[in-house]
Amino acid sequence: MSEMTQPAERGFSLQSLTRNRAFWPIFALLLILLGNRLIAPDFFNIEVVEGRIFGSLIVILIRGAPVVLLSIGMTLVIATKGIDLSVGAVIAISGAVAAVLVSTTDINPILAILISIGVGALCGLWNGILVAYFNIQPIVATLILMVSGRGIAQLITNGQIAIFNDETLAFVGTGVIAGIQFPIYICIAVFVIVMLLVRRTAIGLLIESVGANDRASYYAGIKAAQIKLFAYVASGICAALAGLILTADIKGADANNAGLWLELDAILAVVIGGTSLDGGRFFLGLSVIGALIIQSVETGILQSGLPPTFNLVVKAIVILIVLLLQSDVVRRWISNSVNRLRGQMRGQTA
């Protein structure tokens, strides 16, 4: 959709390609994947063992699933000029709810999963009400749940790592259909559903309008509060799904560590994807690419034999580079010096 705005009219040219906003994130992802290939020669190998597809690329997709999901919800929130710091805590809560329900009650696991998603939606509703109806700054409003959320999760699990044996719930994290792990299906389903919701209804346009110009949107009759509420609830649901995957994966809910700092990864993924923290135009697909970039870096570091501790430094450097490239000041500086250089070259030839 709007990811690929304005097809190149004058045919293919390098310039029109690099101007496309989808170019740089995808280029960066390919570059990182190639880098990984240099480190690990079997990186692109994909093999089917016992009806199951294996390979580093698949690992990236599976491991990246939680951040992919978070980044989808976070994109909507950021597009409304908001931010959701609480998704990590919501992961802990939803995981705790599902794990405790299936391990201590006779409840149907499907129902437990639905309740857990519902709890995520409620968390989003809480954030959304604070932001949309009480006009509390998003960063402050979601800080409350970020601080208390892990406490609530621990309360639910009674401070233990809630271990369970339910196969249905475990399937969410480790199940395989047609050789492909279930989390990948969840990501695809969520992406498609959200994409349909925002691009085949008016929601996407209204989100972009509210994020880009709150005041003009109000004059045009848009009810911004409802739009914001939608975004935060969507983010809560995405976080709950991520929580279910993480919990199901280890067959246990770790209230302290599940999803720790993932909100930062999600925000980073959105920013790498080109959605501005100032709200407005958003790019769901590119946010997903951003999430995959983050995961590829992590996987690459892991495979390189470097200690995983390099992760953070590399991530910091990636953020800095992305920020610098997105900064108007730096862009102007670059284009000015390019122009100056061109001018000099022209001067020499003349």
């Binding site: 931010i83 006009n135 960063i139 409003a141 208390s148 959320g149 621990q154 501790t309 430094v313 450097i317």
Partner: protein
């Protein structure tokens, strides 16, 4: 009644109430031990919170302080242990590094107009990552200087112990209070947070103030890291994960508006003490679990934010100019 002092009074009242509740249940709250222990336990949080107060007063946020503490602790430990630098020398190097780091973040925030949230997030990853690069495990520090420091304390009659690090926290807080309220820099920070555009028109040096604020915050976070290393006699790259959240919480509970421009340094002390009292109470009470700390703190945070909202609700959401030029 000055409305800007109201949150501070509310904070003090909450603190006294909590303390009374604690005293009611546990007579130990009546001794100097509890307060002094809180001051010691929370000394590095408190020092970082003083820096955070400046940042929030200026209308910004600093997510990097927890990581800077961890980095400093491991950096000093290695300098002392492997390089053989005297602790004081190591501290000086660390502080200079901290100042440069904070100054760089401030410069990026101001000149490149990137939101402080993102810049300090990168700073958080970078500092934590560097800490890991230095060492992945805890590094104990054995140096006579450290033993001397931990031997420096004053014992009250009821066995309350005023430690060196607690004293340092109180001194930092007092200095912070003076800087915030009685220097031009401090007043410029308030002006910047109160209304950036007006501050510019009134001649406040925005660049210098912004960079100064983040530099100060990083320096204090470094100092907090030094305190951490004195307190634990070690350096640990996984130390104080998420401490920035506690610091922000203490500042907000202390009555400083997250929108900037309004707040008291003294409130931050009370905010830190409130966090300490809640934790002490829950520790004393065998039946209550540690997670209640987070829930109670979250609830307090909500109450204070709601209170601030009510107090500032006179301001219109949109500044509609009633008459246009």
């Amino acid at each position: 009644m000055k409305s800007r002092i109201f949150p501070l009074i509310a904070t003090i009242v909450v603190f006294i109430l909590l303390y009374m509740i604690g005293w009611q249940r546990f007579p130990a709250f009546g001794t100097t031990r509890v307060v002094l222990n809180i001051l010691t336990d929370k000394s590095f949080l408190g020092v970082a919170a003083v820096g955070m107060t400046f940042v929030i007063l200026s209308g910004g946020i600093d997510l990097s302080v927890g990581s800077i503490i961890a980095f400093t602790s491991i950096f000093c430990a290695l300098l002392i242990k492997d390089v053989g630098v005297h602790p004081l020398g190591a501290f000086a190097i660390a502080l200079a590094l901290g100042a440069a780091f904070g100054g760089a973040m401030g410069a990026i925030i101001h000149y490149l107009k990137i939101p402080p949230f993102i810049v300090t997030l990168a700073g958080m990853f970078l500092a934590r990552g560097c800490a890991f690069l230095l060492s992945e495990a805890s590094v104990p520090i054995e140096h006579p200087f450290y033993s001397d420091i931990s031997g420096m304390y004053y014992v009250f009659e009821d066995k309350g112990r005023l430690t060196f690090v607690a004293t340092l926290f109180v001194i930092v807080l007092l200095v912070g209070l003076i800087i915030a309220h009685f220097t031009r820099f401090g007043r410029n920070v308030y002006a910047l947070g109160g209304d950036k555009n007006s501050a510019l028109l009134l001649g406040v040096p925005i660049a210098r103030t912004t960079i100064g604020v983040y530099m100060l915050s990083s320096v204090l976070a470094t100092l907090a890291g030094i305190i951490y290393s004195l307190y634990t006699r070690s350096g640990y790259p996984l130390a104080t994960v998420g401490l920035e959240l506690d610091a922000i919480t203490a500042v907000v509970i202390g009555g400083t508006l997250l929108t900037g421009g309004v707040g008291y340094m003294a409130g931050t002390l009370v905010g830190v003490l409130i966090l300490g009292v809640i934790q002490t109470y829950i520790n004393f009470d065998g039946g209550l679990n540690s997670w209640w700390t987070k829930i109670v703190i979250g609830a307090l945070l909500f109450v204070f934010i709601a209170l601030q909202k009510v107090l500032s609700s006179g301001r219109p959401v949109f500044k509609l100019p009633s008459l246009k030029r």
